[in-house]
């Protein structure tokens, strides 16, 4: 007797396109996905638990390792929350440096996303090109703070290092260079018919679903909702810069790609403006007591990381260590929608949809 059977396919945790150690239990009928269940936790390091025994300064290097593609925004989340609870004033020069590095980091992060996404879809070269250009950002960071990925750059009250001589000039040169490179990416990828065929109309969802699942970042904006914390709940000095928030329409993968590419453009615009208005001198650290004692209270701040809303929730009991520290990790929230998107899709679309969410497993697992 001939009968068909559903097959349980175990994708990951060691699989080339699960972006780390995500495991997906996929039930397939032929190549059609019947059901998919993400299994996470393979990279759980207990940052939140560890933070309870660490002083606020000591937590900063730990946040580097959460979303290791955009450690600057992670740094900012924790220092921003702490500063808010302490009511600290940040010197202007420090704020400018923070904005420049955060936006450069956003460009770097989106470049990695673009490269790995194309790699998932099967194109090799964009990955290498993206890494070539990202390398320049990493070199800039290396010069600024001495590390290429785990920056540990921001401090409560300011930043650790001032810009070295000539650094601002280099950033300016990089923005012009990158704006030219974007055109090359568009030539290589955006118009490519195979790429359009792989992404257009795939993995789309409506705005209501996106809100219910608390998606954030490009995953939310692609549904047409103009929601960017840099504009809607401004922090730092973002209000001073003119930039647009790219939105999509029906949330398919192609629009996600376009959104993120435009975000690179907008970030470069912010960097260019910040470099133009960069104060010629000033302090980089505010008045901060030597031992940080954060007053008793509770604070939640959300900032726009490349992946979405990165929140930091601190409960303090007036000690030098947080009583409870919780990170709202955007990838963790964004990944939840995956089972719905994968249902009844072709197995080939699995990697395209998963890649489109843009997860970083260090962040999902905390």
């Amino acid at each position: 007797m001939i009968r068909t059977e559903e097959m349980l396919l175990n994708v990951g945790p060691q699989h080339p396109s699960t972006h780390g150690v995500l495991r997906l239990l996929v039930k397939v009928d032929g190549e059609r996905i019947v059901e998919a269940e993400p299994v996470i936790g393979y990279l759980h390091r207990g940052t939140e638990k560890l933070a309870e025994d660490l002083s606020y300064t000591q937590i900063i290097p730990y946040t580097d390792r959460m979303d290791y593609l955009s450690a600057m925004t992670n740094n900012y989340a924790i220092v921003h929350a702490t500063e808010k609870l302490m009511g600290l004033e940040i010197p202007e020069r420090a704020e400018f440096l923070r904005v420049i590095v955060m936006e450069l980091n956003r460009v770097a992060s989106h470049l990695v996303w673009m490269g790995t996404y194309l790699l998932d879809i099967g194109a090799m070269s964009p990955f290498l090109y993206a890494f070539r250009d990202r390398e320049q950002i990493l070199d800039l960071f290396n010069e600024l703070c001495g590390a290429r990925l785990t920056y540990n750059y921001m401090r409560v009250g300011g930043v650790k290092w001032d810009a070295p001589a000539g650094w601002i000039k280099k950033v300016e040169q990089f923005t012009t260079y990158m704006q030219k490179q974007i055109k090359e990416y568009h030539d290589l990828v955006t118009g490519n018919e195979i790429f359009i065929g792989r992404t257009k109309g795939i993995g789309s969802y409506d705005q209501q679903t996106a809100i219910r699942y608390a998606l954030s970042g490009a995953n939310l904006r692609v549904t047409g909702l103009n929601w960017d914390l840099r504009k809607d709940a401004p922090y730092s000095i973002y209000e001073r810069f003119a930039f647009e928030v790219p939105v999509g329409e029906d949330g398919d993968l192609y629009q996600k790609y376009l959104c993120r590419m435009k975000e690179i453009d907008e970030s470069l615009k912010i960097v260019a403006q910040a470099v133009g208005e960069f104060p010629s001198e000033g302090k980089i650290m505010g008045k901060v007591p030597r031992v940080l004692r954060v007053p008793e209270g509770e604070v939640y701040v959300g900032i726009e990381s490349p992946r979405g809303e990165l929140g930091c929730h601190i409960v303090s009991k007036g000690k030098d260590k947080p009583w409870r520290l919780k990170f709202r990790r955007p990838s963790f929230y964004n990944l939840q929608i995956l089972p719905i998107l994968l249902k009844d899709e072709n197995l080939s679309n699995l990697v395209a949809i998963l890649g489109g969410i843009d997860i970083v497993l260090g962040e999902v697992d905390g």
């Binding site: 509770e298 939640y300 929730h313």
Partner: protein, 185 residues
């Protein structure tokens, strides 16, 4: 680690160094807060809102402490019926205050760009809360995380099991009374 005063941090103190709390200037959000509390009390009874205060350092965040029985109905009301629909679950977190556990949801209204914090207090022994997964699908993994790390059972959750830690893990690490099996590795 010993705390002189074991009371939960109900009212945030100003960011001043002096130990005695300075009277805070009235918050511009006070009317909003009062209206919200009144609406909820009218709708769900006097006991529904156990406390309401404004978290001033956090951009005057309206914070409500809801009684456990009214947790789901209040969330439902805030999401669907309230004039400012808080339909976006920004953050879900749980805190162990040693005297009690607290679950806090930060809800956001994307339309009006407003944010509130809704809290509920639970006992250590009987940490149970109805699951809000049906209201906010985003709460699904968050509740699993809270179950995993804080040991709060969410009744009615579709798939309540450990999410970050291995299935055979003993204890809930974020509880303050958690004893690490191996202190130093």
């Amino acid at each position: 680690m010993s705390e002189e005063e074991k009371k939960p941090p109900v009212r945030p103190k100003p960011a001043a160094k002096k130990p005695e709390p300075k009277p805070l200037p009235p918050s511009p959000k006070q009317p909003v807060m009062d209206a919200l509390a009144t609406t909820l009390k009218e709708k769900f009874g006097e006991s529904a809102v156990m406390e309401g205060y404004i978290n001033q350092p956090n951009d005057h965040l309206c914070t409500l402490i809801i009684s456990r029985e009214n947790w789901l109905p209040v969330l439902q009301f805030l999401r669907d019926e309230h004039s400012t629909p808080f339909d976006y679950l920004q953050n879900a977190s749980a805190i162990d205050y040693e005297t009690h556990l607290e679950v806090v949801f930060h809800l956001h209204s994307l339309e009006k760009k407003e944010m509130i914090a809704v809290k509920v207090r639970l006992d250590h022994e009987n940490a149970e809360l109805p699951s809000s997964t049906a209201l906010f699908p985003a709460a699904n993994w968050n509740e699993r995380e809270m179950f995993d790390l804080m040991g709060i059972t969410f009744t009615g959750h579709p798939d309540l099991k450990r999410i970050l830690l291995p299935d055979d893990w003993v204890g809930h690490p974020l509880r303050k009374d958690y004893v690490a099996f191996d202190k130093e590795v």
